[in-house]
């Protein structure tokens, strides 16, 4: 008699269909079913644990369209050994997938309101599924505003899509970089400097923020200063994860497990904890 496999902790095989270069260090993996096993659907903001056979696992946010069944997209920035092994995969190779995990962006809370999406760097990747979903149910929402900050023009993700979204009615897309060259004629400066180009309706806006933690806190505070209640400001947090199901203990942030109570939290939930250094 054999012991049951611990299903949620066991990676299921998925085939790499494509590895697309987004920028010099960021790539998007497209995964398709392998061995006839369908891939699970997901909600915007959720993540998977991607397993490279015999090497290890990483939590990566899903960056594709939740309505496109049968494929999962992951936008990965190569910064170290583990991420390098992911972006070095070739089409046809097989990786393991566990998930999806986590609390998604609260799009249903934003019905009838403006959506203000503020992304920094690779943070646009976990927000892209939310944008797809908003555009799919466009009449459920009022305005769509996307503010995106990156290090330099060559680090901007999804430029064509950003331009296309900006051209849609009732939509505003503003991108900025920390420094630019002569070919960049857009904004240069911090993403919060873009706020002055907006006419915000504080009671009627839900903000979704994703990026480096310092950036998210600054953006949240500045949005609060402009009248948004902290219960309407959402951040996607990141911590070390091994199990992704709330049992290994690594991802704790104060009383929360980022893998299951998050990664999306309201600023109201996070505020008492993120003010403490090294919590």
């Amino acid at each position: 008699m054999s012991a049951p496999a611990v299903a949620l902790l066991t990676p299921a095989p998925a085939r790499v269909a494509a590895v697309e270069k987004e920028t010099h260090d960021t790539f998007t993996l497209t995964l398709e079913p392998a061995d006839g096993q369908p891939l699970a659907g997901f909600a915007p903001g959720q993540f998977s644990m991607l397993y490279v056979y015999g090497v290890g696992e990483l939590p990566i946010s899903i960056s594709g369209d939740p309505n496109e069944a049968g494929r999962l997209l992951y936008t990965v920035r190569s910064v170290g050994r583990a991420t390098h092994s992911l972006v070095s995969l070739r089409p046809g190779e097989v990786v393991g997938v566990r998930g999806p995990f986590g609390r998604p962006w609260p799009l249903e809370n934003a019905r009838g309101k403006d959506l203000l999406i503020v992304a920094g760097g690779i943070g646009l990747a976990p927000l892209r599924p939310a944008i797809y979903e908003i555009l799919r149910r466009r009449d459920d929402y009022v305005r769509l505003i996307v503010l995106y900050g990156a290090r330099s023009p060559k680090d901007l993700l999804f430029r064509k899509q950003l331009a296309a979204w900006g051209r849609l009615p009732d939509s505003q897309v503003l991108a900025t970089v920390d420094y630019g060259g002569t070919s960049w004629r857009g904004h240069v400066g911090v993403v919060t400097a873009l706020f002055r180009h907006l006419r915000l309706h504080p009671g009627e806006t839900v903000a979704l923020i994703c990026g480096p933690e310092i950036m998210m806190r600054i953006v949240a505070r500045q949005l609060e200063a402009r009248g948004l209640p902290d219960s309407e400001i959402y951040l996607s947090m990141e911590r070390n994860m091994k199990c992704a199901v709330g049992s290994c203990g690594h991802c704790q942030l104060g009383p929360y497990f980022v893998c299951k109570d998050g990664p999306v939290f309201s600023y109201q939930q996070l505020r008492p904890w993120v003010v403490h250094h090294e919590l």
Binding site: V6, Y53, V79, S247, G249, P255, P272
Partner: protein, 374 residues
Amino acid sequence: MDSSHSCGRLPAAVELSGLAQLLECLQRRGYQIIGPTVREGAIVLDVIEKLDELPAGWTDRQEPGRYRLERRDDGALFGFAPGPHSWKQFLYPPEATLCELARDGASFKVLATGELPPRRAFLGVRACDLAAIRIQDRVLVEDRFVDAVYQERRRGVFIVAVNCTQASGTCFCVSMGAGPRVEGSFDLALTELPGPGGHLFLIEPGSQAGREVLSEIDRREAQPEEVAQASMALEKAAQQECGLETADLRRMLFGNLGHPEWDLVAARCLSCGNCTMVCPTCFCTTVEDSSDVAGARAQRRRKWDSCFTESFSYIHGGSVRLSVKSRYRQWLTHKLAAWVDQFGTFGCVGCGRCITWCPAGIDITAEVAAIRGG
């Protein structure tokens, strides 16, 4: 204090020979018995086959950072407090294989693992440890994610609990509401009454399985004075030097995350992680991936981990909790504050192991008092 049976009858009483019969009965039913035994200067938990392997006539002296065994003159079998081992290692093993995988062309397939634990009986579970098992049940089986490794070991366990008749220098189960009387789900509960006339054990069943086993051993009804003696022994166990005030504890700790005491304790803490290893409720683990040289087989193994390691909170090229201070604070506030948010109870049962086995002699009850003190 009344230790009578739930339906009002007096408990049963068995002699030493009856206890030997208990062991044989459990073995006949296919249980591997785990119980206390002396080894390398400590009372540890290991496979027990005969009654004489139990630590008869041994007791312990425990203080912050100190543990040693001493002889006692009454030959008691259970006259000691928790040692470095807890039942956690048998229910939530230090290492477990999560899955084994094999290359399958360009893909891989998952192989069924063959690890199946033996049926076990735990002999000598103290009130604190029983409470700890209940806490781990809540964390590992009653929350959203059910841990299969823990569940399959927990299901078949036969628990023979033991009421403590004395406390050690580091016990504080009374403060935590986790003892000294055993409560919760056990199959049998013993209270040892060593006396001049010979050994006597009051024994009560806590389940149908317990009743069935009890019916197979020689016993008689306990005398009222024996029951009174057991009550007095429990009262003696309730006299504890260590104490932790739990009123408003969660709010007090979360409201003092910047208290200067964290810096003081950090100067002493070696972040060795002993406390997390001996703690019966700590459940943090990590996953290690490996494969054979050819890459034909790969394995995912889960291992105990400790929040005291520097890499525990590693992300993006650095650790969130780099300082020892932040890691000690994380451990203590998780155990006594965050646990309440996460699971509705404290994570501490007052067993005192972390105090005894800390090489720096750090006392969690003293730390809490220092922070409360302002």
